[in-house]
Point group: C2
Chain length 377, copies 2
């Protein structure tokens, strides 16, 4: 009976209109009925990705699509650059090294944003670089990277730019084609307002060209199989039918609202979230805060207890830090189906928990500061 | 507005009680609430698998779990036996060869069942064989293989037995441990009465030992990651939360009914389906028909039209043949949430379509023959 409020950076809350689609009688996936739904969803994905290229769907976690972006482009011994600024950026390194790919890391400490100039330097230093892998919004720290600048740099070289936009797409301005992103990898459970279990990937012509040289073996993740099936609105292996039916609905809602309006809404929520954190005496974390999750430092003596207390006492789920940041930061998401009122619920309960854990705060101040920003609009 | 009746061998119809669980507000996957659901589901899977070993869940199609059973056990150059009798058995060969594994095929023509004696001979002829890969119920033909006998043969050797039970588990007697199956691979959308998107895999001690020697690179499919997370009721990557919540419900229903009672129900449906096919003048296809899908030969001049007409005119989905069997057989499923009345709906509409396509049949005969068997029980 405990009412739950989800303010985590994935899964994010799902609109009831979308969730209910998952409960509809299941369709067979090799029928004209499903093909029509698949086609609609594929069109919707192009819009959200802001790309003219096809976006393939696969059953899997976002990490599966990340692996797809490694095994389809590279061969053992190939050299790549990874620009990481957190847990998910580091995952590129782990996947690449698993497959015998040589990684030049231009990573920065967690909390910083990656430096486009460093990528440029590394590219100039080594003309063998096949691809640059990076992250759009690094959820583990709440930092956003300047993909547009990185795109301009990489586009001038023979290297392919691969971006993990899993946690940011739909929540913050991202333009795959305009920003010259060759491979864009995404998941269902963040900005797209859907349950986890579906992953997405788009490939530019430059990426397809590199893929021709790839020698890493692959079967389930072989993107050529997906390309071939895509032409007849199918997937090579049984797709997660209910998730795709729900996806069509969430994409319909996003299209109806307009992607720019979505971005603007989250930008405002981010402004309000940052104001709320500061008003309550919590220092913001992260060099360049993204617009889908707000991170703040918390006193070490209570840091490990905030997330658990919020959830157990008030049913409010936010996220804590990962890795070295465990117990040191909290992460408050405003992506997916999260509105102004949800943000205020989060701050009100956070105030109570901080007070209960012994931090000296003035109750109501975070809420007031957030309200102020929300009213300004 | 056209009412749909699903009689396909995956996806199969989903009980509304299960489907509605997919529409519940989403839970975060790193919470005690989700861990409890995950634990329940994992216990239920052990029961359906009839194994004492842990059963791991992953986001993916069944093929993903098949790939997991290849990349975690083998190294390039390793030798295996594949006993295939259809499209899905052949997939083992394709996956293994993708990873540089040498395959000795003891496959049989589509429609036949694999020969345990041939597997025994091949094992005796080559002591380097690391594993034997085969299929339980081969959905592409409707044939069931004698896994129990194969298990006895393989258990006497150093080889590991890997079985794809994707389309049969829950629908026909299968005992992982008693039949000495080392690795059992399954999917969600068949006998487990769930939407596609979840895959399962169990590993015996013998399999874990072989896995220690495996040198094929893997990241998302690295089963050690799943084993490690399993200990704390988690998955290494974001799991398909809504599907797992629904899985717990379908497994609860299966447990409540009793797995042996499920098997008996489908056995009766299979008997009735075979009687119906014969009564209408269609010859059964397959050397050893399984109990989850019934295949029958159809006249070539109308073979390509039956499935489409049934679906378009009456909303009834059955399956046709795959590969060389396209247009030559129809496949009528009785697995998952399919009951006696559904079978009769299928036969009644099949009678109409066969008559409409010009086949000389006596209307009502298939239905009558099926009824006869169903009443006998």
């Amino acid at each position: 009976m405990k009412k739950q409020y989800l303010l985590t950076p994935g899964p994010t809350p799902i609109p009831p209109e979308v969730a209910l689609k998952e409960a509809l009688p299941i369709l067979h996936h090799r029928t004209s009925e499903f093909a029509a739904i698949y086609k609609d969803a594929a069109e919707g994905l192009k819009y959200v990705f802001q790309t003219k290229n096809d976006v393939y769907m696969l059953a899997g976690s976002g990490t599966g699509a990340m692996e797809m972006a490694v095994v389809n482009l590279l061969s053992p011994g190939d050299e790549i650059i990874v620009a990481s600024c957190g847990n998910f950026g580091d995952r590129w390194i782990k996947i690449a090294e698993t497959y015998g790919v040589k990684v030049t890391s231009v990573s920065v400490p967690w909390g910083n944003a990656v430096k486009p100039a460093e990528i440029e330097k590394a590219l100039k230093a080594n003309s063998n670089i096949k691809a640059v892998y990076t992250t759009f919004t690094e959820t583990s720290t709440g930092v956003v990277n300047d993909i547009k600048s990185i795109g301009e740099i990489v586009a001038k070289t023979n290297a392919v730019l691969v971006v993990d936009s899993i946690s940011g797409l739909g929540g913050q301005e991202f333009r795959t084609d305009e920003w010259k992103v060759d491979v864009n990898v995404c998941g269902s459970q963040k900005g797209l307002m859907l349950a986890p279990g579906l992953a997405f990937i788009s490939f530019s012509e430059k990426a397809w060209k590199l893929a021709e040289t790839s020698k890493i073996p692959k079967f389930y993740y072989d993107i050529k199989k997906y390309k071939k099936s895509f032409a007849s609105n199918e997937t090579p292996f049984t797709p997660p039918v209910t998730l795709i039916v729900a996806l069509r609905e969430s994409l319909r809602m996003i299209k109806e609202k307009g992607i720019e309006n979505m971005w603007n809404d989250y930008k405002l929520l981010a402004k309000a979230a940052r104001a709320g954190m500061k008003a309550i005496g919590l220092e913001l974390f992260g060099e360049v805060p993204c617009e889908v999750v707000t991170s703040a430092k918390v006193p070490e003596e209570i840091g490990g207890k905030i997330v658990k207390t919020l959830r157990e006492k008030y049913g409010v789920s936010i996220a804590g830090g990962q890795g070295d940041l465990k117990g040191k930061i909290i992460r408050f998401a405003h992506m997916g189906y999260i509105g102004k009122a949800d943000l205020l619920v989060g701050f009100a309960c956070l105030e109570m928990v901080l007070a209960e854990l012994g931090m000296k705060i003035e109750k109501g101040k975070a809420v007031a500061a957030a309200e102020e920003e929300l009213i300004k609009g």
